[in-house]
């Protein structure tokens, strides 16, 4: 049976043009961008080009882009780096329970170092509310970190309102925009954020690449110690093949942003329509009106996530339930637990489907039909 990939929020296929760009670097540009000779300068030029592309994609300055190994490192650098650098101003951080583990475990680490963390409440619709920030905000708050699009539900968070709420406060605002980047246009000239996390492999680029946007003047401690790369904010020889591949992915994302959104929205609609036509019993988790085109999280009443996912895979369908856990088994989703409470059946009967480059209208319909057969057999 044909394998169908419905897990683009986990990672995406690498675009052929990205592969091509990377091969060319691997074959022709092996120099170290820090070297003061021809080989180094050639690499440095490509690195600067890529930095310019990344900066332009969010209307930032080139020097505000720090290339990293991806989303986790960018989140860690933003959160831990900002907290450590600004602890003389306070040791209080605000986040939410629906953040990615790269954020949650970073703030837990800071807690163990004596920082205090407050969590914004999350509502049934999968969103936080900006007015709650005022309740939690303290004089000694130094950082607020909230993701732009939740990776499990696809629900868009009120980033503009949150950042506006912090305008007259010392606290930095960081947002993990991994699932938003490439879909939602971002302009840092008018969006008052200080730090943004972006990952390459979620937008058809290679793994091991990404950047952190650091607004000029933001006080940040490096988490890597060594050379002076990335303006001393990220030591280590730059991963040029990944960075150039990422650059190509960024260019493609910018060029095809609106056509991709239309295409993926069509996939989601077709997917849900087919499930309905096949009389599958499901509910959408989180606010439908605030959802990105690429992600939908469905609850299947009476089903069990492990049984569903294994059955899906045995019939060639790749989907997921958010975060895998120890020893390959699936834990109740921390995102859905935050939305509905830990004992709600939706935390153990929900699956995330995410659409993208590996999909066609045909394979979306075929996938929905296979799902309906499996659910019917298990009912």
């Amino acid at each position: 049976m044909e394998s169908i990939y419905l897990d683009h929020a986990a990672t995406t296929p690498v675009h052929p043009q990205v592969t091509e760009a990377m091969i060319s670097v691997l074959q022709e540009t092996f120099g170290n961008p820090s070297s003061v000779h021809t080989f180094g300068r050639k690499a440095r030029k490509q690195l600067d080009d890529a930095r310019h592309t990344a900066a332009e994609s969010i209307q930032a300055k080139d020097k505000e882009i720090v290339f990293t190994s991806g989303g986790t490192e960018s989140d860690n650098l933003a959160i831990i780096g900002a907290a450590i650098a600004n602890q003389h101003k306070g040791r209080h951080i605000i986040t939410s329970k629906i953040e990615h583990h790269a954020t949650l475990h970073a703030v837990e680490h800071l807690e163990s170092l004596g920082f205090e963390v407050s969590y914004l409440p999350v509502y049934n619709d999968g969103r936080v509310k900006s007015e709650d920030v005022h309740t939690l905000l303290r004089e000694d708050t130094i950082l607020v970190t909230i993701m732009m699009v939740n990776n499990e539900t696809g629900v868009v968070q009120p980033i503009r309102e949150l950042s506006d709420a912090l305008k007259d406060h010392q606290a930095y605002f960081h947002s993990d925009i991994v699932q938003a980047y490439g879909l939602i246009s971002i302009d840092v000239r008018e969006l008052p954020v200080d730090l943004l996390t972006v990952s390459s492999h979620k937008i058809n680029g290679p793994k091991g690449g990404g950047f952190l946007y650091v607004r000029e003047g933001t006080n940040l401690n490096s988490q890597h110690f060594g050379g002076e790369q990335e303006r001393k904010r990220r030591a280590g020889t730059e991963n040029l093949p990944a960075i150039v591949g990422f650059q190509k992915a960024v260019q493609l994302a910018d060029e095809f942003r609106s056509s991709r959104r239309t295409e993926y929205a069509r996939y989601k609609q077709l997917f849900l329509e087919t499930l309905e036509k096949e009389h599958v019993d499901f509910k959408i988790n989180g606010s439908v009106e605030h959802q990105v085109e690429t992600i939908v999280n469905l609850s299947f009443p009476g089903m069990n996530v492990e049984t569903l996912l294994t059955n899906f895979d045995l019939s060639g369908l790749a989907a997921s339930s958010g975060s895998a856990c120890t020893a390959g088994s699936v834990e109740p989703s921390h995102v859905l637990s935050a939305m509905y409470g830990g004992n709600d059946p939706r935390t153990i009967n929900s699956i995330r489907f995410s659409f993208g480059m590996a999909n066609t209208e045909e394979n979306i319909v075929a996938a929905a039909k296979r799902i309906s057969q499996i659910i019917e057999r298990l009912s």
Binding site: E306, T307, L309, T310, N311, D313, L314, T326, A327, G328, S329, V330, E331, R377, L378
Partner: protein
């Protein structure tokens, strides 16, 4: 009859050599094999290492070698509710439970079997040393050919419905051969040490483990005549016939546990391996299962094991009211222990088993055994 390639067999893979070779043999026979790892217990040691993660790594390695898909399933909650709670309750009642029997009954061959069937499996296979034989539509469970490894003792609660759905690919070979097959195929688990003891305790200190869940109540050690011989650390740490850890010095033969008084928190001890109080000539069993699904109505003769890896003893089984059974021994037995399983055999066929509820001597229940 389906062809092997169209027959899906889910193999319960623990990350050990037995289940690895089971999967290998089924794959060689051309079945549609799916490996599944069960996570029943959440444990992380002082170095942050989770044994389940280590075991799952081995499952991944072996499944990749065999080119079969692998998955994990979490039964921590069911295991806690059905096996661990029973395990603690039995210890609190002064008995010596057998969690492996309960795990097979409630988890591996119930929750896990249901999971396998929900995945479209025709059969569930495990690495147990036991055999299933179909005779005219009835399924019999036979001992494993390797008498030293035979695990039917732990499988005594399986029913016809279960036996019709299980495969034990190792039942007809012995352990040495299993190791050799694993080595010949360079399976990642070929040289892995067999797990010992109760799965959720592993290599840890049993006493320490138990004390985390049941508060230890030290009390007196007495002879059955009431002579105080010392202090015990808590009744749950001792089992009938045990010699180690009593710390009673003095002249004469070594001392053994001969009974427990839960009400007054007294551990009874007696001198000599063959102390009279350790011997019994019968037992009363409850929670019986008959692998044929056909409970006997008349008394009959067969052989029995009262603990794992013991030689069979000839017995007479007498059905009583309410599903209980009296089992009379032809010869007196030493240290038959309440809470353990009594498992019955006719030749190579395992007839089923039950839980030892009371131990009997000369038609009297031995109240002092606990």
């Amino acid at each position: 009859m389906k062809e092997n390639k169209d027959t899906r067999v889910v193999v319960g893979m623990s990350g050990g050599v037995d289940s690895s070779v089971s999967a290998l043999l089924l794959k060689e026979q051309g079945y549609d094999v799916v490996g599944i790892f069960m996570k029943n217990w959440d444990d992380t040691d002082e170095n942050g290492v989770c044994t389940a993660t280590e075991d799952y790594e081995d499952v991944i390695h072996v499944c990749n070698q065999l080119d079969i898909p692998y998955y994990a399933v979490n039964f921590e909650k069911q295991y806690w509710d059905k096996v661990f709670t029973y395990f603690l309750d039995e210890y609190k009642a002064g008995r010596t439970p057998n969690p492996d029997v309960m795990c097979n009954k409630e988890i591996k061959f119930k929750a896990f079997l249901d999971h396998a069937l929900a995945l479209g499996a025709d059969y569930l296979a495990t690495g147990h040393y036991a055999q299933v034989r179909e005779v005219d539509g009835t399924y019999e469970m036979l001992r494993g050919v390797d008498q030293n490894k035979d695990q039917t003792y732990f499988l005594n609660q399986l029913s016809q419905e279960v036996l019709s759905k299980v495969m034990f690919p190792l039942g007809h070979i012995d352990k040495k051969e299993v190791r050799k097959i694993a080595e010949d195929h360079e399976l990642a688990t070929a040289k892995k040490k067999d797990s010992t003891g109760i799965c959720f305790i592993g290599e840890r200190n049993f006493k320490e483990f138990l004390s985390e869940y049941i508060p230890a109540q030290p009390g007196e050690m007495q002879t059955l005549d009431g002579e105080v011989k010392g202090q015990h650390d808590g009744l749950m740490y001792y089992t009938l016939g045990q010699r180690q850890g009593l710390g009673i010095g003095g002249a004469g033969e070594p001392w053994f546990v001969v009974g427990k008084n839960v009400t007054d928190n007294i551990l009874y001890v007696g001198q000599g391996y063959h102390h009279e109080a350790l011997y019994s000539d019968g037992l009363i069993a409850v929670d019986a299962n008959w692998t044929s699904n056909d409970p006997p109505l008349e008394p009959f003769e067969c052989t029995a094991k009262f603990r794992y890896r013991q030689e069979d003893s000839p017995v007479t089984v007498i059905p009583k009211e309410g599903g209980t059974y009296v089992v009379k021994f032809h010869e007196r037995e030493r240290a038959v222990t309440p809470g353990q399983a009594v498992v019955l055999y006719k030749g190579e066929v395992c007839l089923g088993g039950a839980t030892i509820d009371q131990v009997v001597k000369e038609n009297e229940s031995l109240t002092y055994v606990g």
